[in-house]
């Protein structure tokens, strides 16, 4: 069993090697298939670990010994399982989607190499026993994201975005490194399970690690890089947002629970950051007109929820967080893949120029609607259960500000997701759209998206499966006891958990079928247009995303100025460059006149010597 622990990691790295070695020979589609199979195998490998971990054991394995004290060993527990399953599972679905999505691209060896490395990086991060290896993986996924965001390197936006991603997550990453070194200095070990580390842990180190996690997990005010990362190919964005990148910070914070018992003020800090972040993300999502940017800000808001859930610090809160993190991966991945399909079909993701696509992309629309329902929190989807757990956890711990903020933000979530939904898929098609060329996503792409959305529904109807097999081991690993009332057949609902959701779903679907049979039996007149006051609709613009949210934007406009930290960063950047510039000028002057300086200095020294 212990040998299996590293299996997935090795398979993924093997995939990287295959891609590099045979990149010249293989066709684009074949590369995609190979990557997907590699991803699937690694997912299977991690699944095979699950039974052991659910039983409450941990798996340790040494990859190789570099030095006795800092072994590159793996430590696999429930928390690792949660994140590794997410990375490989959602990652495989995304790779499946890539097969068709990327088939017309050049340079796909580069793409698949870094995609696989990316996934391997997260698996490595979550299964690392040594903090040093964690940091290594932390930076590997950072670098991968830099390369992947800059995949279309001939586009200025993409390159600038990639640079911003690297700078804004790499620099705070040093805080993590400093924390590791400080811990090593005082405790003499890199292994996080070592009690010595727990003893040496203090608030300063917590803050340092939190800063790194905040930057990675787009917490306010370090969130501004993520919208810029939207110039990447869609599968990269999906992976970045749903499974791999932003979840790394969440993992780090969650992992702190297994390292050290938390001080109450840490919980407070985390909840405060989470609440502010969810408000900021939702507010900024309101005003976006680019579909992917909107989703990016929605990620910020959703990660605020997750951070808050982990910040509550009770077993129930941890459960909510674990559930939320997985659910978010599922539905956000779906939403991103759908946005990719939209961009693929319509050639744009500017919501002002889209509209009425439901007629041309029926499959994508259906998948999107399921995922949108999940993120809004419609009952019978996993998003609802996640929110339910969060509110319940907050109520249990008396954090009423969290409930009210989270709940109000969820109405904002509904608003901006509906804005995206209606302005992309419903309403009148914009006149700027080339309707004739629009085709739905290919069956393979639809399957990739569909699997994730079906999972959204499945875990909405049977949340117990996720709670029992994935979330519960994770919270055990976080040193929490499983909340009492949770049983397999009841999610804190002593007798009626699964029956009620499954029953509701059954009733609804049965009634839907009956109703449709009844409704379709009745002939309906054809060719009747919609009512436009008698005359045909005038030529010209149609309602779009801007019109949908214009008033909200206007009302919240002060918030957008105050809550945007980018100008501050720009100011810092300019100041730093200006200082560097002046320093450079100084040095430059010195350099250019080196001979004169030398001669002068010698003369002065000679004069001094002479005088003395």
């Amino acid at each position: 069993m212990n040998t299996l622990a590293g299996f997935s990691l090795i398979v993924l790295l093997g995939g990287v090697v295959i891609q590099i070695l045979f990149g010249k020979i293989l066709t684009t589609r074949l590369k995609g298939w190979i990557s997907f199979i590699i991803g699937g195998i690694s997912f299977g490998g991690i699944l095979s670990l699950a039974p052991v971990i659910i039983r409450g054991q941990t798996i340790k394995a040494n990859l190789f010994n570099w030095q006795a004290e800092t072994p590159f060993s793996l430590y696999f527990d429930g928390l690792s399982l949660l994140f590794a399953l997410m990375a490989t599972g959602i990652g495989s679905a995304i790779l499946f989607y890539c097969i068709d999505y990327m088939q017309h691209e050049t340079n796909t060896t580069y793409f698949y190499t870094f995609m696989l490395t990316f996934i391997a990086g997260l698996v490595g991060l979550v299964s690392a026993h040594s903090l040093l290896m964690s940091y290594l993986c932390w930076e590997i996924i950072g670098l991968c994201s830099y390369f992947l965001v800059g995949f279309w390197y001939h586009e200025t936006d993409a390159v600038n975005g990639a640079r911003k991603v690297l700078v804004m997550t790499h620099i705070p990453g040093y805080a993590f490194l400093i924390a590791i070194l400080l811990l090593y200095k005082s405790s003499g070990t890199f292994l996080w399970s070592d009690p010595a580390i727990s003893a040496q842990f203090n608030t300063g180190i917590f803050i340092l690690i939190l800063i790194a996690a905040m930057a990675k997990s787009v917490m306010f005010p370090l969130h501004t890089w993520i919208p810029e990362a939207m110039n990447a190919p869609t599968p990269v964005s999906a992976l970045l947002h749903s499974a791999c990148y932003v979840k790394a910070g969440i993992y780090l914070v969650a992992r702190l629970y297994s390292i050290v018992p938390w001080h109450p003020s840490w919980n407070f800090i985390l909840m405060a950051i989470g609440c502010v972040t969810m408000i900021v993300g939702a507010l900024f999502a309101l005003i976006q007109t680019d579909l992917k940017r909107l989703l990016a800000f929605s990620t910020i808001s959703q990660l605020g929820y997750i951070m808050t859930a982990f910040g509550i610090g009770t077993p129930y809160g941890a459960l909510a967080g674990a559930f939320y993190v997985f659910s978010h991966g599922l539905y956000k991945g779906t939403l991103f893949l759908c946005s990719g399909a939209v961009q693929h079909a319509a050639g744009t993701r500017d919501m002002r120029r889209l509209g009425g696509l439901s007629k041309y992309l029926p499959g994508t629309t259906l998948v999107w609607l399921v995922a949108a329902a999940a993120i809004i929190g419609v009952p019978l989807t996993n998003g609802f259960v996640a929110k339910w757990l969060l509110y319940d956890a907050a109520l249990e711990s008396g954090a009423w500000v969290v409930i009210i903020v989270a709940w109000l933000v969820s109405t904002f979530t509904a608003f901006y997701i509906l804005k995206a939904t209606v302005s992309v898929f419903f309403g009148e098609p914009s006149s700027e759209l080339q309707i004739d060329e629009i085709n739905d996503a290919s069956p393979l792409m639809q399957m990739g998206m569909g699997i994730l959305s079906v999972a959204c529904l499945f875990f909405g109807v049977f949340p117990q499966a996720l709670v029992r097999w994935i979330a519960a081991p994770a919270i055990t690993a976080m040193q929490f006891a499983l909340p009492e009332k949770i049983t397999f057949l009841g999610l804190r609902v002593d007798s009626s958990g699964a029956p009620i959701t499954a029953g509701a779903l059954l009733t609804i679907s049965a009634l839907l079928v009956v109703f449709f049979i009844f409704a379709l039996r009745r002939p309906t007149p054809k060719g009747v247009s919609s009512f436009t006051g008698g005359d045909p609709l005038p030529e010209g613009g149609t309602l779009n995303a801007v019109d949908f949210s214009e008033f909200a934007e206007e009302s919240f406009s002060p918030a957008f100025r105050i809550l945007n930290p980018d100008p501050v960063y720009l100011w810092i950047w300019r100041t730093v460059t200006r200082i560097a510039e002046s320093v450079k000028i100084g040095f430059g002057f010195f350099e250019n006149n080196l001979v004169a300086f030398l001669i002068g200095a010698i003369l002065i020294i000679a004069a001094l010597v002479f005088v003395i």
């Binding site: 709940w407 609902v493 009634l511 009747v528 919609s530 309602l543 949210s549």
Partner: protein, 303 residues
């Protein structure tokens, strides 16, 4: 287990669910129309008019406008209807509350939010320009009226330390209950889209609002969902005041009485105001709603 299933089905379909909820909702809607008419010096509709409106709509042929997918057209009202039916089934009315569990308030609120979300989708899905304007207005209203609505319910939940609705009915009445009821009532005006917040279905501006293109059977279902929404929302306020009473029949009488009282109040407000603009409504809810929210929290955390 069997017994539980039967009781659940009973509360979904008979009491307080689909059947009784619809009948009660039609009664409330009739009272609304009748009292409005009386206040305006008119005779008003005959008894139980909404019932006949519903059946007439059922008997009409359905027109699906050009370019609208039939699946979306038919499924939206069904989803709207059943989410509100489930919400009503959860409501712990006297002799009801078969489906009751810890956290049902969360489910209840999300189910209650569904009709508004469906409406917003429906407006755009039917591709009528008027409905689209109505949808944007509805969407703006949802982020406005939820402030007093949610804070009212959450404050109550905090005071009772539970998200279980059936506990609400057994809680004693205090000043906090009254303030909560007020906050819920403020939100109710916009949720039911009555004057002065009849903004998303403003006939004089955007024809018939969101449901412009709906007709026949699907429109009937939307009307039915609206009737159920009326009884659910009025009932939600009414159950807050059932705490002190033990006899179920008295509970029922008071429940019905308070629901009717709320609807009459709504009618009086509707009769005495003009329709506000969406910006007025937004400002109203973010100022008065905020004040109500603060009051509610102060009352329930302090008292």
């Amino acid at each position: 287990m069997d017994n539980w299933w039967l009781r659940a089905l009973f509360s979904i379909f008979i009491w307080p669910g689909l059947l009784c909820g619809a009948l009660f909702g039609w009664l409330l809607l009739w009272i609304n129309r009748k009292s409005l008419a009386q206040l305006q010096g008119r005779q008003g509709p005959p008894f139980f008019q909404p019932f006949f409106d519903f059946w007439k709509l059922i008997g009409k042929k359905t027109i699906i406008p050009v370019g609208v997918s039939w699946a979306i057209f038919y499924s939206l009202p069904i989803i709207s209807l059943f989410s509100i039916v489930f919400a009503l089934a959860i409501l712990p009315v006297p002799w009801g509350g078969a489906i009751s569990f810890e956290g049902d308030l969360v489910l209840f609120i999300y189910l209650l939010e569904m009709p508004a979300l469906i409406d917003i989708l429906a407006g755009y899905a039917t591709r009528s320009v008027y409905a689209q304007v109505g949808s944007t207005r509805e969407a703006l209203l949802t982020i406005a009226y939820n402030l007093p609505f949610l804070s009212g319910l959450i404050a109550l939940a905090l005071r009772l330390k539970t998200f279980q609705l059936s506990v609400f009915t057994s809680a004693p009445i205090s000043i906090a209950t009254v303030i909560t009821a007020l906050a819920l009532f403020i939100a109710l005006l916009a949720q039911l889209k009555v004057n002065p917040f009849s903004i998303p279905n403003a006939e004089q501006e955007i024809v018939a609002g969101i449901h412009v293109e709906y007709n026949g059977l699907p429109l009937a279902l939307f009307e039915l969902a609206h009737a159920l929404e009326v009884s659910t929302l009025a009932g939600l306020i009414a159950i807050l005041f059932l705490g002190a009473i033990t006899a179920p029949w008295l509970k029922l009488v008071i429940f019905i009485f308070i629901s009717i009282l709320i609807i009459v109040l709504v009618s009086i407000i509707g009769a005495g105001t003009a329709r506000l603009k969406v910006q007025h409504a937004f400002r109203f809810y973010w100022t008065w709603g905020l004040i109500a929210a603060v009051l509610v929290f102060m009352a329930s955390l302090a008292l």
